[in-house]
Subunit: 202 residues, 2 copies
DNA sequence: ATTTGACTATTTCCGTTTTTCGGTCAAAGC
DNA sequence: GCTTTGACCGAAAAACGGAAATAGTCAAAT
């Protein structure tokens, strides 16, 4: 029953948004009385958060797969950024949470969003650490680099998702991910410095 | 008289915002009748745009100075980004124009904003071209790289300016500018390749 | 050419009324 | 005992109409 409710809610929240969707219509859609929604969920906000959590959980799963691949960390980083934006673009309810930055009536999504940010921070930190250990990445302070990446990808969400510019900016996003990766690429001159020193000694 | 009006308007718009500022109080501040405002400006929107234009004009002047410096293009690029954000942070009326992304009642600021973006595009393009010609920058497509930079710096304006996170993110911004510059840095391995070849021949 | 201030038109504000909707829970159903 | 219903309540939102405020106007004055 709970799943049925969440599915119905997902459908309506995605289409009409949190505020325009009524509990009555969510219930009617599954031929139930509205009271049953409150048997399983404390209130409308909790139902929305459950929908959101499930959607973000799917995205987390997909993003985690990137960590499993055999690609080097720069490729993984690029993929992470691109796939992240692509999946979130498809998650309409997530777009609505961006409005929490402006409207107090979205206060209740904060925890779910913070949880997702935490997940992201862990993923990125792991990725950068791996790249650093492998010698591919040149990162001095992993935490602050993660801050930058998060700030950048979050910053572009509003134009991309709320202003529907994702398609327009698809190439630019691709290049952005390239630039971010490139900015962290270990300079190969260090290798050649070693080689040069050896040649000089011979 | 026109300057007097603009100065008075700047003071009130900055403090109370466009919508909360009345033409009456702008006029009273300079001991004039409200009707004189309409002699010089078509309407309230035009007056606001004039204020905005003048403020952005000062910023354009400061940013243009960066082009005059003797620094290499990477340093200039970093400075451009940092100074840009810093100056815009101080321009309260500009912050208000960011709301145009959400509220239709700010439709009238579009042209002034587009003009500023054009200016920026020219500056960045010039800078990148110079860096490419000097051999400092590794840029394949200048236009699309400029797109990325603009998208990124614009993206972070809302958290920084509208959510007052500039101070909190000051270090992150610094690192962002470093990363952007770094992503475009010409790989020095090419230089060492040449040197290595010469040593090998000797 | 510039400024004023009375005036108009439009917008905003405010208090009241009506409607909607989130939430409740005793009773019914399984 | 668990689950569901549907009548009900109170709070919030929406609608309404009138008052107040404000943007804009323009003939007259300077």
């Amino acid at each position: 029953m709970k799943d049925l409710i969440v599915e119905s809610a997902k459908k309506y929240f995605s289409r009409f948004g949190f505020h325009k969707t009524t509990m009555e219509e969510i219930a009617k859609n599954i031929h139930k009385s509205k009271g049953v929604l409150y048997y399983y969920f404390k209130n409308k906000e909790e139902l929305f958060n459950e929908v959101l959590k499930q959607e973000l959980s799917c995205i987390k799963t997909e993003l985690s797969k990137i960590m499993m691949s055999k690609n080097d960390s720069l490729v993984m980083l690029k993929e992470y950024i691109l796939i992240r934006l692509k999946l979130l673009y498809k998650t309409v309810n997530y777009h609505e949470t961006l409005k929490a930055d402006f409207f107090e009536k979205y206060y209740f999504v904060k925890d779910v969003r913070d949880d997702f940010t935490k997940f992201e921070r862990i993923q990125l930190t792991t990725m950068l650490k791996k790249g650093k250990d492998e010698g591919y990445l040149n990162v001095i302070d992993i935490d602050s680099t993660v801050d930058v990446i998060l700030m950048v990808v979050s910053g572009i969400e509003i134009p991309l998702f709320l202003q529907n510019k994702y398609d327009e900016y698809e190439d630019t996003i691709e290049e952005l991910s390239e630039m971010i990766a490139n900015s962290l690429r270990m300079q190969k001159n260090k290798l050649f410095q070693v080689l040069l020193t050896q040649k000089h000694k011979q």
